[in-house]
């Protein structure tokens, strides 16, 4: 079934929403395989940052941090984003699943890219700083910076798809997205804290 047919089928429930949906559904979307590849690339790039964190202790810590760093992004992509999609669908926003996947892939890839870019600087900092607390603080700063930029990209992509509705619908979307943002930050922070020993002050 094509996107256009799906949008027209939805028109039986709400004509206004279907109009919006048809216009956004007709917007060219990237093939799903490419979006998943972008998502996986983002997670792979994030593990480079994990390797940099693991360089402080070396050995098994390299692997542990390389696996732990993408986990925060994965939790947001796999748990928080589907939850946002369900909430947005419940309030009848014209967002297609493929568009949601595209937005999540963009956010994850950007966060991974920034984490990989930060890796050389963070490796130098965590290896040369003696205090475990200061090293944890620097690593946390990097994760927050990259996570923030990733979230900004995800929200920008969503905004592109959701722009141009009536004020009431937009205010409901805004609340759903604001709740998602808080939840995404909390979940990512929890995952990173649990899976990155360096953040807990281990040296």
């Amino acid at each position: 079934m094509s996107y256009e047919t799906q949008a027209l089928d939805a028109g039986g429930l709400d004509l206004g929403a279907a109009e919006d949906m048809r216009s956004s559904a007709l917007a060219p979307a990237e093939p799903l395989g490419r979006e998943f590849a972008r998502l996986a690339s983002g997670l792979g790039l994030a593990s480079v940052f994990g390797l940099a964190l693991g360089a402080r202790s070396g050995g098994v810590a390299l692997l542990q941090h390389a696996l732990g760093a993408p986990l925060g992004l994965m939790v947001v992509a796999a748990v928080a984003a589907p939850s946002l999609f369900v909430r947005l669908a419940l309030i009848n926003t014209p967002l297609r699943p493929a568009q949601m996947i595209g937005a999540v892939a963009q956010g994850t890839f950007t966060a991974g890219l920034v984490l990989a870019g930060l890796a050389p600087a963070v490796a130098m900092l965590v290896v040369t700083i003696e205090s475990a607390a200061a090293a944890a603080w620097m690593s946390g700063l990097g994760l927050w910076l990259a996570g923030g930029i990733g979230l900004f990209n995800l929200l920008a992509a969503l905004h592109k798809h959701l722009a141009g509705h009536e004020l009431r619908a937009r205010s409901r979307e805004f609340i759903a997205i604001a709740v998602f943002s808080v939840l995404a930050c909390a979940l990512a922070a929890r995952a990173w804290y649990a899976w990155l020993p360096l953040l807990r002050g281990a040296s």
Partner: protein, 234 residues
């Protein structure tokens, strides 16, 4: 070639916007990179040597070598992050462009340090003391950094997004630059020290030093042994 180098150096000082435009258009960046490296070596090297005049001797050579090295190491570590941040926040600038932009900014800062060198030398020669020398050099670095910001701002755009990218880049540059310089210290050299080391022992980090100085500034002096006890619980 010499005339071209001087013309690029002149452009770096007078028109950061023209330098940013040259990088955006991806013209031949070789003269810009050569001129920037030359300015960095000459400006930061001279300022480093001037800082060491209070200690004199072999410290002059060490500081002349280490200050440009600290800037270059910081750039090597930070430029990938700058490029990723700019790309992540929607500025279409690739790694090559960011290398050119950051190197130009560092070169402009080094030339500003070169301009400060005679005045700093005069003041140090009057014997202002070690701690005031540190403070004076920090003020000079601050002015040099502000002049470098003009190049970065011209390249990244003077809108809200450009400002956001600049702030994120600053959040990466400040701790990295401070720690690189900390690893390569001393630059001034304590007059009481019997011998001049090329590098001092690790002795914590820049962040630890700031943390301890924050206590010292309010009259709470913490010995190294006490800090060790607090951190390890032994």
């Amino acid at each position: 070639m010499n005339a071209q180098l001087f013309s690029v150096l002149d452009e770096l000082l007078r028109s950061p916007e023209a330098v940013a435009e040259r990088i955006r258009r991806r013209e031949d960046l070789r003269p810009l990179v050569v001129a920037a490296l030359l300015a960095l070596g000459l400006g930061a090297g001279t300022f480093g040597a001037v800082l060491a005049t209070a200690r004199g001797g072999v410290q002059l050579g060490y500081s002349a070598l280490k200050l440009p090295l600290a800037v270059l190491v910081t750039l090597c570590l930070c430029v990938p992050a700058f490029a990723a941040i700019a790309r992540g926040l929607g500025r279409n600038i690739d790694l090559g462009g960011m290398v050119g932009l950051s190197l130009s900014a560092a070169a402009r800062a080094s030339l500003v340090l070169l301009a400060f060198a005679p005045a700093v030398w005069f003041v140090l020669d009057r014997g202002i003391g070690y701690h005031y020398s540190v403070l004076l050099s920090a003020v000079c670095y601050g002015f040099a950094g502000i002049s470098a910001l003009r190049v970065m701002a011209a390249g990244l755009g003077r809108d809200g997004r450009g400002l956001g990218i600049l702030l994120c880049c600053a959040a990466v540059l400040l701790p990295t630059g401070a720690q690189s310089a900390w690893m390569l210290r001393p630059f001034i050299g304590r007059p009481a020290q019997a011998s001049v080391p090329f590098l001092r022992h690790k002795e914590g980090s820049f962040a630890d030093a700031v943390y301890q100085s924050a206590f010292s500034s309010v009259g709470r002096y913490r010995s190294s042994a006490r800090v060790f006890e607090e951190e390890t619980g032994e």
